[in-house]
């Protein structure tokens, strides 16, 4: 999440809101946000409902510990990074950039 925070200005330029999701409690996420200086929401999915809905639980069983979804303003998924690719926010940022260019 530190890498996403590092690129937060780039994401803002493409009119993108970054949302982190984990199965931690809001209290744990508050400490984590302070540790890494996160200015974006870290959402708490303690029931794992959303983690399941997005198929991320299946990815975890395939040993991919990360997944990033880029969702456009119409609520459509436009880009997915899984596993180590999701550790680096670059391709997610490029996807946001493309979305903004397409619109213009």
């Amino acid at each position: 999440m530190k890498a996403y925070q590092g690129d937060i200005a780039k994401f803002e330029q493409t009119d993108a809101q970054v949302l982190g999701v984990s199965v931690d409690s809001p209290e744990r996420n508050r400490k984590f946000a302070q540790e890494i200086g996160a200015t974006f929401p870290l959402l708490s999915d303690t029931e794992k409902t959303v983690t399941k809905q997005y198929g991320v639980l299946m990815m975890i069983l395939r040993m991919a510990s990360r997944a990033t979804f880029v969702i456009d303003k119409d609520g459509i998924i436009r880009h997915i990074d899984e596993g180590s690719a999701a550790l680096d926010p670059t391709s997610a940022h490029q996807a946001c950039s493309l979305l903004e260019h397409r619109k213009q």
Partner: protein, 76 residues
């Protein structure tokens, strides 16, 4: 392999079997992840300050980068 008797040697295997069975039995678990072009499932989750954030809050306003990091204090 026995699913009934418990032995430490088989514990790891039994846990993975139990997980597999749970996933097969749990009807709300989709078999596949949503794909590019699919509508993103809406949600309402609490952020680190206790504020509820909904995906639909950003509809028509912002692109959303939804980054699952599973557990706090992991790299990236």
């Amino acid at each position: 392999m026995s699913l009934v008797r418990f032995s430490p040697m088989e514990a790891g295997h039994q846990i993975s079997m139990a997980l597999a069975v749970l996933i097969l039995l749990f009807p709300l678990t989709p078999a596949v992840s949503p794909k590019v072009g699919d509508p993103a499932p809406d949600f309402a989750l609490s952020d680190q300050n206790g504020k509820t954030v909904k995906l639909s809050d950003f509809r028509g306003k912002k692109n959303v980068v939804l980054a699952f990091y599973i557990r706090a204090s992991t790299p990236g």
